[in-house]
């Protein structure tokens, strides 16, 4: 398939996941904040921005660390390329450039989602019914994923879509843990619940670990679960599977080798050892590894569209400079 089309599908998947993750994170944080002091609130919103790697960008805007200001920045501010409105718009624009590769149902679902979002009074939604808004974003993203799974051929295009989607998910889950793990003292029961809930993992976690709220269990679940589809390991396995099928004749391509190394590191990790060592450092290594995979994917598959500077065009907030 065209290198440019592959790139658009990859990014369409990434942006959708970004929108969904942001909505989950905001929903949980917002509702967890209703009973806190202003100081705690500012700290929590800063964590959210840090998880999205947008804390630096946000600080430069000079806006306050309040629910209203942060939520507006992350939901409807189109100067923020990582806001939900921007991300959904980008997912749609990328899909529009590969429209002929998509099923009609998939395109219509995504297009309607974007149009609905644009038609809403998001500021009023944030004030009066934030939960409804975040729920809508989450449901629509899941609908797009479902329609894609049900209608797209399992060809190259599908694999690039899945690859982008899952690399973004793995990276976001990593960041979420990075931002939160320090608070996972045994007393911070609600923060854990919130963290798990923002990954839609609370029920699944309980089934596995019952009522335990040992920080190690939460980390193990979100980082190393082999059954929970939003864990870092699970997302990396899904991404690796897609990448392996993209390699011509079973060739061990550079991005595949890099991804395999990151995945294997988690595959054979022991959560107790991680907790005793420097978890923050470990998470950083994984996150950096995922970023390198994305860069190698671009070099391996998209660089045929070489007039385009991939990283300047598609740079997401928080991705830093060139690898």
């Amino acid at each position: 398939m065209l290198a440019r089309d592959a790139e658009s599908l990859f990014w369409s998947g990434r942006y959708l996941e970004r929108a969904e993750d942001t909505a989950r994170l905001l929903d949980v944080t917002y509702h967890g904040m209703l009973e806190t002091t202003p100081d705690e609130e500012a700290l929590a919103w800063n964590d959210v921005l840090a998880a999205l790697r947008l804390d630096g960008v946000y600080a430069k805007t000079g806006r306050p660390l309040t629910a209203t200001a942060v939520c507006e920045f992350l939901v409807l501010d189109t100067t923020n390329a990582g806001s939900i409105l921007s991300a959904v718009g980008q997912a749609r624009e990328n899909a529009r450039t590969v429209r002929e590769q998509l099923s009609t149902e998939l395109w219509e679902t995504l297009n309607s989602f974007c149009l609905e979002l644009r038609a809403r009074n998001l500021r009023a939604d944030l004030e009066f019914q934030p939960h409804e808004l975040y729920g809508m974003v989450r449901r629509q993203c899941q609908t797009v994923a479902g329609v894609a799974a049900e209608t797209m051929s399992r060809d190259e295009g599908w694999r690039f879509f899945v690859l982008g989607w899952n690399l973004e998910r793995a990276e976001m889950s990593c960041r979420l843990l990075s931002a939160r793990y320090r608070q996972l003292s045994p007393s911070a029961f609600h923060q854990w619940m919130g963290t798990l809930r923002s990954a839609s993992g609370l029920e699944a976690y309980r089934r596995t670990y019952r009522a335990s709220m040992d920080p190690a269990d939460v980390v193990e679940f979100l980082l190393l679960s082999r059954t929970f589809p939003r864990s870092v390991l699970f997302s990396l396995r899904t991404a690796e599977n897609a990448l392996a099928r993209l390699a011509p004749d079973g060739e061990l391509t550079r991005p595949l080798r890099q991804l395999g190394r990151v995945r294997a590191g988690l595959e054979f990790a022991d959560v107790r050892e991680l907790m005793q060592g420097d978890l923050g450092e470990e998470l950083w290594v994984v996150e950096e590894g995922i970023r390198q995979v994305a860069a190698s994917v671009a070099t391996q598959y998209f660089s045929n569209s070489r007039e385009f500077d991939l990283h300047s065009v598609h740079l997401m907030p928080g991705e830093g400079g060139r690898p």
Binding site: A3, R4, R96, E100, T104, E108, F160, L246, N304
Partner: protein, 500 residues
Amino acid sequence: MSSPDGLFTDYRLDGFFDEVFDAEGHCRPHYAPLLARLTGFTPDDLMRRTRLRDAAFRSQGITFTVYDEGEGIERTFPMDLLPRIVPADEWSHIEAGLVQRVSALNSFLDDLYVGEGAAIHDGIIPSWVVKSSDGFCREAFGIPVPLGARCLVAGVDLVRDGEGTYRVLEDNLRNPSGISYVIENRVAMTRVLPSVFADQQVRPVDHYGRSLLNALHRVAPPASSDRPTVVVLTPGVFNSAYFEHVFLASQMGVELVEGRDLVVDDHVVSMRTTQGLQRVDVIYRRIDDDFLDPVPFRTDSTLGVPGLMAAARAGNVTIANAVGNGVADDKAVYAYVPDFIRYYTGEEPILPNVTTYLLWDDDQRNEVLDRLDQLVIKPVAEAGGYGIVIGPAASDEDLATCRRQILEDPRNYIAQEVVALSRHPSLVEDHVEGRHVDLRPFVLSGEDIEVIPGGLTRVAMRRGSLVVNSSQGGGSKDTWVLAGAPGDGDDVAGSDHEAR
């Protein structure tokens, strides 16, 4: 008026040729089943269905982009729910006329660019008229097109005059658009107003993609494989017709590429894929000549592909429609098309032109200048209705300016008799009114010449307006070609073959 209650009660013909009613106000036979089916619909019902269709088009992204102060706005192309119907015998007349005309145009262009220029040598058209045309392209000399199918897709604009005679207004041999609306309008009609299709045999239009791909395969360079690689070349997502480019690529199941996806090496065109470069044999381009290749054309263009023309000249890739077709879209060259038909086919033209005057000819110019307020004056190279002066509607000032411009550069203008375009009942808010229409059938040249039954009927949605262009508030109608005659005694006003 003999019509179902409600919809047509106050309908007026105003002295125009009406597609549905004859001069006495009787429904033409081929419309009778439709009108019977419409009994019971109120204008409100129809408006509600129109809104359904608009919403469906919006969510499907069937839109064109209008740029206003730098901001792109996506609009849907309005569709009037009352379909236009062409009976079978009337259609065979149109079809024969179009095949004859496009065949002659292919011959003329092939003769001009890779032949001996026989039409010029034999005095059919003066050499200077051809060479002074904006669309004439020296770079196209010597570039072969298999089967001589230079006008691979033609979107010929037909109008019906006061007598109901079909006349050719423009040939549109470069990048005619609108076929996606023909197909999507039909899909929309079958969804929002399915009942009106009953008792009718409407010929389908959705095989267009297959026919287009067949034609493109036929013009592949002789050396290419049995399954040549075809691509659609688009200027990109910001082009106002982008939806149609996507539509055509997906209907054919081929890649939609932009200039930056293609690369020319050693006179071979390839596209950049995830697995490296893949050779391309046929390019259905929706980019104008000037932007195709920055080497011979506009060096500031980033839409095109450097080296593309040289690759085409080497016979390694076919560009469709062929480069240089614009010469035959020149409105002064258009005046010679009936002579091309006689010269290349030996037949009399089946579809007449609109009567056209050439202004470098002293006699014709003097007559035109005497009757300037009764004629339409058009610049020869403009499309989309730009720069047209309609004599009866123009101010004295406009006419004086027009007169001066003609005298300064008579080659740059033509004059035509005003055509009282036929009208068709159209839904206007809460009632039905007559609106002027034209018809753009799509003609494909490959092994044979094929006409897709119907075409895009464009409607001037403003009262009294003769301008049907979508950029100027025009809408469209689903256009039905019937498979069989609806009954005896139908009045086919356009089939009497009368020329001017």
